[in-house]
Amino acid sequence: MPRKRKEEDTTEDPNAQTVSVKQEPAAPREPQTERDIERLQDSLRRLKVKKGIIGYILRAEKSASIDINDPTKIIDYAVLSSIVLNAGEILSSSFELGGVYKVTLEGEKAKMLTLRTNNHSLSVFMENTLDSDKIHRELDVS
């Protein structure tokens, strides 16, 4: 059963569950990387309460953070995110696209925006009413 995050969570949805997974103690990092992650997490907390946002999965070097409205679908979204990331890498290699920085998957009901940097990857799930390019700009991931 996923545990709620201990830090304060201002999400409006009482049924949402946040899962933080620390795989092993984090090695000392450069301050800039820590600040980037913290800044991104702040952006995600603000984004999460927006209408139409289903949730997100943030994967850093040694940890992952998942916040999905429907806790029964956490694993499904995690698997989809993983498969899409992997497919992006494979297609990038096959078509010689260079380093992948964005993958977008759109379905009939919802869409997934995945952003990659050297240090982390972020998948945001949203309803089709939202503009994924606008969400990308709001997150300001570089």
């Binding site: 679908k73 499904d76 979204y77 698997v79 989809l80 498969i83 899409v84 992997n86 497919a87 992006g88 494979i90 297609l91 990038s92 290699s93 096959s94 078509f95 010689e96 696209l97 260079g98 380093g99 992948v100 920085y101 964005k102 993958v103 977008t104 998957l105 759109e106 379905g107 009939e108 009901k109 919802a110 869409k111 997934m112 799930f125």
Partner: protein, 223 residues
């Protein structure tokens, strides 16, 4: 219009689009069951195979978001865009800075219009193509022999193409063009059915130089 003419028309369309659209490097079209209908000669077989293999995995899981409508990968030097048009999928590889209007025009207007026009002139059941791309699942055992295993539904479809006769042998083509013929039977394990795989004995995999997870092209041989 015969099917060959339909495919030729599509192929010419893709080639001309590439010629006149700056930024579009290559493209191809495939059906929902993974059969390539028309392809730009610029696209390497390996790229087609990896695209189909990746697409299958995503399509299975995309039910979570209502089925796959479009998929795009943006890299430092280029982009690949897969869009769903009627019961077909269009794959377009472009340069990094392609004009979005051009891409949208091609994928959402020109190709759909051409497809609709071709279907209006003479509807062609594209799904009933014989060749099929399947993902390799290698297996070993004492009594495996050289017989491969395929989904019973696919064998049944192929059987329909030959007046209900059982399909006993298939031709397998590896990504590098190497081919071989093998006896075929159904996959009996229900957990493995409906996943777009072909179970191939290890020694046949070695002879074809294919590994688990790669895509191969399978064609039924007339009974």
């Amino acid at each position: 219009m015969e099917k060959e003419a339909y495919v030729e028309a599509l192929k010419n369309t893709l080639t001309e689009i590439r010629n006149v659209s700056p930024g579009i490097n290559s493209s191809f079209i495939f059906t929902e069951d993974g059969a390539v209908i028309a392809g730009d000669p610029e696209v390497a077989n390996m790229s087609i195979n990896t695209t189909l293999s990746s697409f299958q995995k995503i399509a299975e899981k995309a039910e979570l978001i209502g089925g796959l409508r479009s998929f795009s990968v943006d890299g430092a030097q280029g982009r690949v865009y897969i869009s769903h048009i009627n019961n077909l999928y269009l794959v377009t590889a472009t340069s990094k800075n392609i004009d979005e209007n051009i891409l949208r025009s091609v994928t959402q207007v020109i190709i759909p219009t051409v497809l609709k026009l071709l279907e209006t002139i003479n509807p062609v059941p594209l799904k009933s193509t014989q060749s099929q791309q399947l993902v390799v699942e290698a297996f070993s055992g004492f009594f495996t022999g050289d017989t491969v295993q395929i989904d019973p539904k696919l064998l049944s479809e192929w059987s329909g193409l030959f007046n209900g006769q059982n399909i006993n042998e298939v031709e397998i083509k590896a990504p590098d063009g190497e081919t071989t013929r093998c006896k075929v039977k159904e996959i009996t394990d229900t957990n493995l059915q409906g996943k777009g795989i072909i179970r191939i004995p290890d020694r046949v995999c070695k002879a074809l130089e294919v590994n688990k997870g790669e895509s191969v092209t399978i064609k039924p041989l007339e009974p």
